[in-house]
Symmetry: C2
Subunit: 320 residues, 2 copies
């Protein structure tokens, strides 16, 4: 990623990476190798960027932000490890998952170890409030994953969808920005604004991820187009398509069969892609980003605030 | 368990149970049911008793101890859930494990959820030092489990054994007593004494558990006698037997095959049971308990100190 909002924080982002790598230095060699693999697999590091930009904008100490940013990204990494195992995914970001080459025992324990290191880094911030927000985010993420596994399949319900993407993604963005503000010498109004900024961009981020599932090519995403639907999960494009086409027998079949896919899922995915539902979903993501930009107006004007604005806009201008 | 050291803290122990149950109240119904099942399955609650006795002895506030005791027991519970899954165990304490009736996804996520709630309770103590010790204990436990899975099988090495039982058990007892002392208005010498007391009884506790694996009946333990050895793991009785009988071909076979069991494992287990190794292992546990009792002499004399003394002695007088 070569987005302009990264440049001002590039060196701190590299420090976050180094801090993450350091967490496995005294661990079992296999574990250390696993963590290195996961860190190499990369990702956009958008959550640590949010933490650094928000925290520095509000005057939080850089060393505490380094701990927090690494904690947030490791928490994200740990949940991916367990999710990939649960979903049986063999690829993520085009790289093999741990799950693809490791035993279930190794995968579960690697996830647990990364959770433990993330918690240790959250404690290293020295803030009980950060620690509490960290533990709360973890609870929300896991509860959401359980809901996704056991309740959400075949459910054509917008409230359930928004709850699900909050738990899955926006809760961690809330932590990334909200906990950064907790480390800064600012009042509760500014902290609340920072937290809500994270919420809004997190919701937009997950909607765009769900849009991507209907538009990206297999090579880029590392999974087949429409994979959520094939797994029985209706995300925003499918929900909007269903709203416009309630009688489509194939989407009815996804809903009725509660997670079982119809024979002609490819045709259904093609119809959703050809419909206006995908554009409508992007419009919805843009509304979240617009709310995020409005929230930023209450924070101090600076290059870092501009960075957060660019980051928010970047979320809805990713190429699809 | 009807040991005398429980009576003075019975009401607080009931409060800890209620506090643990409350953690799943707002979660997904299946998750809530799983946590209730795990809490009903019980166990001796010896870790929360250590927390309450130590903390109250040193003057820590009762409400913070309640949070800590529930955090420690939930952390213990979460590690059991993942361990049972890793080991494929279908019974624990004579009750079905989650693993026996649930999908892997549900089991992994239930463990993660309990970790999350434990972390939240540790944060609720309001002490960064407690939170840090909590995260450190989790790291040690998971690293130890990884070592047990990937390094320790077939290893006839006492250092490895002591490291393993520290990671598996004594680290959590250290947390139970050490974090309780962190919540009390005492100096660092008293805190160190409390932490080391937890270490010594934790080591004794795990040695006695390993002794039990060579002496209890299947009905009571819920697993076959010698299960560790069948799984390629040499615990103290096997290590002491090996020291006295280095040429025994069957124990050589366990070591050489690195985790694979010889055909005549029943005969080997019977020889270990008939040897003096089991008694020697109990002697070793008694030495740990003796060190624990000596440490207690530095703490204030009170009914609670007597309770800790009784608890320490109880560990080596369980019936085998």
């Amino acid at each position: 990623m070569n987005a302009s909002f990264i440049h001002p924080v590039q060196d701190r982002l590299e420090a976050v990476e180094a801090h993450m790598r350091f967490q496995a230095d005294d661990a079992h060699p296999d574990l250390s190798a696993a963590l290195t693999h996961l860190i190499d697999a990369g990702g956009k590091r958008i959550r640590p960027i949010v933490t650094i930009l928000t925290g520095e904008l509000l005057g939080a100490p850089q060393d505490r932000l380094l701990d927090l940013a690494a904690a947030v990204e490791l928490l994200h990494t740990a949940t991916l490890v367990h999710d990939d195992m649960i979903d049986g995914a063999l690829l993520r970001r085009g790289m093999p998952t741990l799950n693809a080459g490791w035993t279930p025992a190794a995968t579960i324990l690697t996830g647990d170890f990364i959770f433990a290191r993330a918690a240790k880094l959250a404690a290293a911030t020295g803030s009980v409030a950060v620690m509490d927000m960290f533990a709360e985010a973890l609870t929300i993420i896991v509860d959401g994953e359980i809901r996704q596994q056991f309740t959400s399949k075949g459910l054509a319900n917008l409230d359930d969808y928004y709850h699900r993407i909050y738990a899955k993604t926006a809760s961690l963005f809330e932590l990334a920005s909200g906990a950064a503000a907790l480390l800064a010498p600012v009042d509760s109004a500014a902290r609340d604004t920072a937290r809500r900024f994270g919420y809004e961009i997190g919701m937009a981020f997950q909607i765009m991820d769900d849009v991507l599932d209907y538009s990206a090519i297999q090579d880029r995403l590392g999974k087949p187009v429409g994979s959520d639907l094939r797994n029985g999960l209706l995300t925003l494009p499918a929900l909007l398509y269903h709203k416009a086409n309630p009688a489509d027998p194939d989407i009815q079949s996804v809903i009725r069969r509660n997670g079982h896919q119809p024979n002609d899922i490819d045709a259904l995915v093609a119809r959703i892609r050809a419909s206006d539902a995908v554009n409508q979903a992007v419009d919805e993501a843009e509304r979240f980003v617009q709310r995020a930009l409005t929230l930023l107006e209450a924070l101090p004007q600076s290059g870092h605030r501009e960075g957060l604005e660019e980051l928010a806009r970047y979320i809805v201008t990713r190429e699809y």
